[in-house]
């Protein structure tokens, strides 16, 4: 099982051979409420840490989801176009948002582990 990292912006990522799968945490999906649309991640897009990677729309509002690290988007989760509620029902899993090739794996050191994230959300 790959290690899961977390950000203070309530994202999770798992890393395998320099590629990260990114999604929002269960806490984040709960705060957003019912997700009705996920803007597909743009494959090939170069991102700097903190850039908007995708936009998640709940009934209430649109929310940006940020790149947790520098890298290039290499895959989008096509399942979300027909069933965006996967982000609610399986935030950390089938509701992943995009995969990215990391530019610099040493940036992972700046992220939270599960214990650190749990402390953050209290």
């Amino acid at each position: 099982m790959a290690k899961t990292y977390y950000t203070e912006d309530h994202e999770w990522l798992t890393v395998h051979q320099g590629e990260a799968t990114v999604g929002i945490t269960d806490y984040a999906q709960e705060q957003l409420g019912d997700i009705v649309f996920v803007e597909a991640a743009e494959i090939g897009k170069q991102l700097k840490k903190g850039d908007t990677a995708v936009v998640v729309e709940s009934v209430k509002a649109a929310s940006d989801v940020y790149a947790p690290l520098d890298g290039e988007i290499i895959a989008a989760n096509d399942a979300l176009s027909s069933d965006p509620s996967l982000v609610n029902s399986a935030a950390v899993g089938a509701g992943w948002l995009w995969k990215m090739k990391l530019a610099d794996e040493s940036q992972l050191d700046g992220l939270l582990d599960e214990a650190g994230y749990k402390k953050l959300i209290g």
């Binding site: 409420g33 019912d34 009705v36 649309f37 803007e39 729309e57 009934v59 209430k60 649109a62």
Partner: protein, 366 residues
């Protein structure tokens, strides 16, 4: 306006129900409950939604000059309003801009209930007192808990609590007992009631109603998606001082003779606007696909010219697609008149003019 956030008298009950709160119009309001906006919305359309709308303001307007004063303040013939009749009306400025929309109910020969939006309550009161100075009238702001009971089971759920519905039909209201005001109206497109009552009685009623399996709390988020599907305006979004009843497609709320001869504030400007024709009109809008289009998005024609704007938008849980409302150039304000696009984050989403409401109204008309 005061900077201090106001709190609902029943806030503790919402906290007990695990509501998520947020600020709205200066109030700390329950936005959603654990069921979530989607389920709360659908529950209201299928069963009974219970809403705390105590942020809205009620004014009891009484005195021998009450009807005359309201007929000056609003495009309404208050003296001709039948007893118990409720009517949607507006406070207009001299340019016929909409200061607020409100529901006026005739309680008695010389007594009316005026229900205003939370965000405009202070301005509305000042406005009424300003006009009221010229009439023999008493304007009394009420301190009440105000709840809405909405959905196909609303009447039955209230009767289960031993509440006499007084034979009310849609857009009727009365004072069933001391300190109470009850009307058959709402903001969801469903049959339903709005009841203003003293806090201690409200606590008992709400607590007992929630024991009924059909009844559950519904927050402000679903209130918004319900009213949007029902094609109802939110003041501050879909109507405001920059829009008038003609452009807002709300002339139906103004009797024809008053449009022509009325002496209400804003009458002259409104007549001019009607004569010259509104440049833009409020319409329903249906974005293509699944992506919601929110208020503020510009509407473009095929050549990229801005021809309108979205004023409210979101996802319609009952219709299962995004829904929106906005203004477009009058010649485009009918279904199929042109290919239109809403611009969202630099992308153009095809959007079409759609008749309102998105979901049929199911009012009880007797």
């Amino acid at each position: 306006m005061s900077d201090e956030t106001r709190h609902l008298p029943l806030e503790d009950l919402h906290k007990d129900a695990d509501a998520k709160f947020g600020a709205f119009a200066g109030w700390y309001m329950p936005l959603t409950y654990p069921a979530g906006v989607m389920k709360e919305h659908l529950h209201t359309r299928e069963h009974v939604g219970l809403f705390d709308i105590s942020h809205m303001k009620l004014f009891r307007v009484t005195g021998i000059g009450a009807a005359a004063m309201l007929s000056k303040a609003c495009p309404i013939d208050a003296a001709a309003l039948p007893l118990r009749q409720s009517k949607l009306s507006f406070f207009l400025n001299e340019d016929a801009g909409i200061l607020d929309d409100l529901i006026i109910t005739r309680l008695d020969h010389d007594a009316f209930m005026v229900v205003c939006n939370a965000g405009n309550a202070e301005a509305d009161e000042a406005h009424m007192r300003d006009i009221g100075g010229h009439f023999n009238v008493v304007i009394e702001p009420l301190d009440r808990v105000f709840i809405a009971i909405q959905g196909p089971g609303a009447a039955s759920a209230l009767e289960t609590q031993g509440i006499d519905l007084g034979g009310l039909t849609f857009m009727n209201g009365f004072e069933p007992k001391e300190g109470w005001f009850m009307s058959r109206s709402g903001y969801t497109g469903e049959d339903g009631f709005e009841i203003a009552l003293p806090e201690f009685q409200a606590r008992a009623l709400v607590t007992n109603m929630l024991q009924d399996d059909r009844v559950q709390w519904v927050g402000l988020a679903a209130r918004d998606s319900l009213r949007l599907e029902a094609g109802l305006c939110l003041h501050g979004n879909d109507i405001d001082q920059s829009t008038d009843p003609a452009s807002a497609a709300l002339l139906w709320a103004i009797p024809k003779d008053l449009r022509e001869n009325g002496a209400f504030i804003g009458a002259t400007a409104l007549r001019e606007k009607i004569a010259s024709g509104a440049k833009q009109k409020r319409v329903g809008l249906k974005p293509e696909g699944r992506q919601p289009v929110r208020g503020g998005a510009p509407i473009l024609d095929e050549d990229g010219n801005t021809v309108g704007r979205v004023t409210s938008g979101g996802f319609g849980p009952s219709v299962g697609h995004p829904v929106a409302m906005g203004y477009v150039a009058s010649q485009l304000a009918k279904p199929g008149a042109a290919n239109l696009f809403a611009e969202v984050r630099g992308q153009r989403i095809p959007i079409s003019v759609h008749s309102l409401p998105f979901t049929p109204h199911r009012y009880f008309k007797g």
